[in-house]
């Protein structure tokens, strides 16, 4: 069977080569119980936010209207959820079918990640009761606003992600009885037929909104620090998101192999890590050329804390590239994981620096997240993790033959 054809084996309702199967076993254990505690705390903090208002529960202010819920949960959270997008480019466009077994868990991570970003945004906005109007009141759309593009695109992409995830869910449901089973059986073939176009959307939409997340910060011309503000923001956000997407796939696959007792997809991941290197190198080159061409490189040495954060970013981007330069280290799961964590952190730091650290409203303003604000963020992360664990245990998401008993 040709490598190029392997990736579409779901057509007939069973991917034998990838061998998707639920991990099984109890969902509740020490780790997931701890997650539930964090989720509960986050839930309480969220309830408090809606009762007492944002002022009482966050460190947000008129100087810093956006904090970690935007910089981390939305901007970084969606960036870390682009595994599905990054893989789709490889698997479906460049036809690298060998990565296919990584797609389903990546789609799950993406669906959950974007859902959590949607949850975070609903908690963050002050007048949340109007959010439903965004897609419907198209007569009032301000097409000049980059944020509108982000909102509409993310809303559409969440639907696309769940449609892309649906085959995995339907494969479990259709074997049972009841309305869910019959719907799954009847919808499955139609869904399969439409899948290429759904995937087409799954490539177009993230390209649009991840670059627009960069465009959002084009607007505060004076308040965004010159080490980060550039007309190339949309491009830089898009390129860095690719690296983060592949990195998250590596992290997710390595940890799943470790904790869910699945065979490690070492060779695939080793090859994938090359794409991390390519996208990161492009990012770094463009970033540096842009800074030099704009005459802003000096700020990297003369601007105190801002220079420090800039160099921290650079170290975090360069370290993984160096680590993954040698094939031997690419073949080593540990170094791969370290490098992937590094890229994930670097991309997150880049977004944090653009949206928060490098945002200067003027003297006299300070921001640090308040305790309820932090609890909500931790709760969201814990919720995503918990649902992920539950989903891989109950649904055929992970591929590879079981190699050992699940540790988690």
């Amino acid at each position: 069977m040709s490598a190029s054809a392997r990736h579409f084996d779901v057509v007939e309702g069973g991917d034998h080569a990838a061998n998707y199967s639920p991990v099984g076993g109890p969902v509740l254990n020490r780790f997931t119980r701890l997650l539930l505690v964090v989720i509960a705390l986050g839930g309480l903090a969220t309830a408090w936010r809606f009762i007492a208002g944002l002022g009482a529960t966050t460190g947000l202010s008129d100087g810093y209207p956006w904090g970690i819920w935007i910089a981390f949960d939305v901007v970084t959270g969606t960036a870390l959820a682009t595994g599905g997008y990054a893989l789709a480019l490889l698997v479906y466009i460049l036809n690298r079918g060998q990565y296919h077994p990584l797609v389903r868990p990546a789609i799950l991570t993406s669906a959950l990640g974007y859902s959590m970003a949607g949850l975070a945004i609903t908690i963050d906005v002050g007048r949340y009761w109007n959010v439903w109007k965004i897609p419907l009141f198209w007569g009032s759309w301000n097409l000049n606003s980059p944020l509108l593009e982000v909102a509409l695109c993310v809303m559409a992409y969440i639907i696309v992600l769940y449609l892309e995830l649906a085959p995995a869910l339907m494969e479990k449901w259709r074997t049972g009885t009841g309305p869910l089973a019959s719907i799954s059986r009847s919808a499955y073939p139609g869904l399969m037929k439409a899948l290429p176009w759904i995937i087409g959307l799954g490539i177009t939409l993230p390209t649009m909104h991840q670059s627009s997340l960069g465009a959002v910060f084009l607007l505060p011309v004076l308040k965004a620090h010159k080490l980060w503000h550039t007309p190339l923001l949309p491009f830089l956000f898009l390129v860095s998101v690719l690296g983060m997407g592949y990195a998250v796939v590596i992290i997710e696959s390595t940890l799943s192999a470790r904790f869910f007792g699945r065979k490690s997809e070492g060779t695939m991941l080793a090859k994938l890590s090359q794409w991390v290197v390519y996208s990161t190198v492009v990012f770094l080159v463009v970033r540096w050329v842009d800074l030099i061409a704009r005459g802003r490189l000096g700020l990297a040495f003369t601007d105190g804390m801002y220079s420090v954060f800039f160099w921290a970013e650079m170290v975090c981007f360069v370290m993984p590239v160096v680590l993954l330069a040698s094939p031997a280290r690419r073949a080593n799961a540990g170094y791969r994981l370290m490098a992937a964590l590094g890229i994930g952190f670097a991309g997150a730091l880049y977004r944090f620096d653009t949206y928060l650290v490098g945002f200067r409203p003027g003297p006299g303003w300070h921001y640090f997240p308040a305790v309820p604000e932090l609890l909500v963020t931790f709760g969201i992360i814990a919720l995503e993790t918990f649902v992920y664990v539950w989903a891989v245990k109950r649904f055929p998401i992970l591929g590879g033959a079981p190699a050992a008993k699940a540790k988690v």
Binding site: S2, S4, A5, F8, D9, V11, E12, D15, H16, F50, G53, L54, G55, A56, L60, S61, D62, P65, W66, Y92, I93, N95, D124, V125, G126, R127, Y128, N130, V131, K133, I134, F137, W141, N142, L143, N144, S145, P146, L147, A151, L195, P196, W197, G200, L201, I203, T204, S212, A215, V216, L218, L219, P220, V221, L222, K223, P231, P234, P361, G362
Partner: protein, 292 residues
């Protein structure tokens, strides 16, 4: 992917692009103030810091005095905020001193309007930038975008609003002036047609060059503002807290780039068509009947 499918993909993309070019692209023209634009002229050399404008603004806009910071003694503001649409600040650097009236600049091409997703903030009658809450989700992008840090938020409220000076448009509707200009005892801040005020401001600078900084802030700054400022000679506008925004309107860069990318929505449609086509093509290239 082979050459054939690639070329087919490009053809599909091209067709889709041609179809979508029916959608007109919004060009980035230079915005100008509307013909009936009104505004304020604040002459810092005339202001005596009596703060009557602050008190009257509160009353005219139904805002509650903020006495918590002073333990109930005074209505004390340190800056514009969700309760304060107008504030008098003091610049002091040794011998150089000046009062400064801070409020919304009512830009000709505002950053907040460019940012707002559903157009809650818009330039409405007379070019006044007003906020309407029925389509506002409270995302605060307007606050992020404004170079002057004007739009403020009611952080303490469970149903927060965006708060800023709206040139007392409710009073203008009754044929009255904004509250601040009506009560100013020195006519330090005056109300009128933007074009008239601009001409007056320039005349003042020309006639008394020893008195004023040689510039009317708001003539071209940030694409122009309908609230104009004159400063005492020796006190720069930056000293008064007005940033050096240059002549480009705030939203110009973002909009030029976004329009460039999304012109006619060609690129997204083309990308979608190409991606979908290639994916579909690749799948069908697999052995008949698919399967393992």
């Amino acid at each position: 992917m082979d050459r054939r499918s690639f070329l087919k993909g490009v053809a599909v993309a091209g067709a889709a692009g041609a179809a979508s070019s029916a959608v007109p692209a919004a060009a980035r023209e230079k915005a100008t103030a509307p013909a009936d634009a009104v505004g304020l002229l604040y002459d810092a050399t005339l202001c005596i810091g009596c703060k009557t404008c602050v008190v009257k603004c509160r009353e005219a806009n139904g805002m509650v005095p903020q006495t918590k910071a002073s333990g109930g003694l005074w209505d004390q503001q340190t800056d514009l905020d969700g309760d304060t649409r107008n504030v008098i600040k003091l610049f002091k650097d040794g011998e150089r001193t000046s009062f400064m009236k801070a409020q919304c600049m009512h830009c000709v091409d505002p950053g907040c309007v460019g940012a707002c997703m559903l157009g809650s903030l818009q330039k409405r009658e007379y070019g006044i930038v007003t906020w309407k809450g029925d389509l506002c989700i409270g995302c605060r992008y307007c606050a992020v975008a404004c170079q002057y840090n004007v739009p403020k938020f009611e952080w303490w409220s469970a149903t927060p609003k965006v708060v800023k000076c709206e040139l007392c448009s409710h009073r203008l509707a009754e044929g009255k002036q904004p509250a601040c200009t009506e009560v100013c005892p020195r006519k330090a801040v005056i109300f009128g047609k933007h074009a008239d005020l601009l001409a007056q401001a320039k005349a003042r600078v020309a006639q008394s060059p020893g008195r004023y900084e040689p510039k009317v802030f708001g003539e071209t700054d940030g694409g122009g503002t309908q609230v104009l400022y004159l400063s005492k000679k020796g006190v720069s506008f930056e000293d008064l807290g007005l940033p050096n925004v240059g002549d480009e309107p705030t939203p110009a860069l973002a909009q030029t780039i976004q329009h460039g990318i999304y012109k006619g929505f060609i690129a997204p449609v083309a990308l979608f068509a190409a991606a979908g086509f290639v994916t579909w093509r690749n799948r069908n290239k697999g052995e008949p009947g698919g399967g393992a």
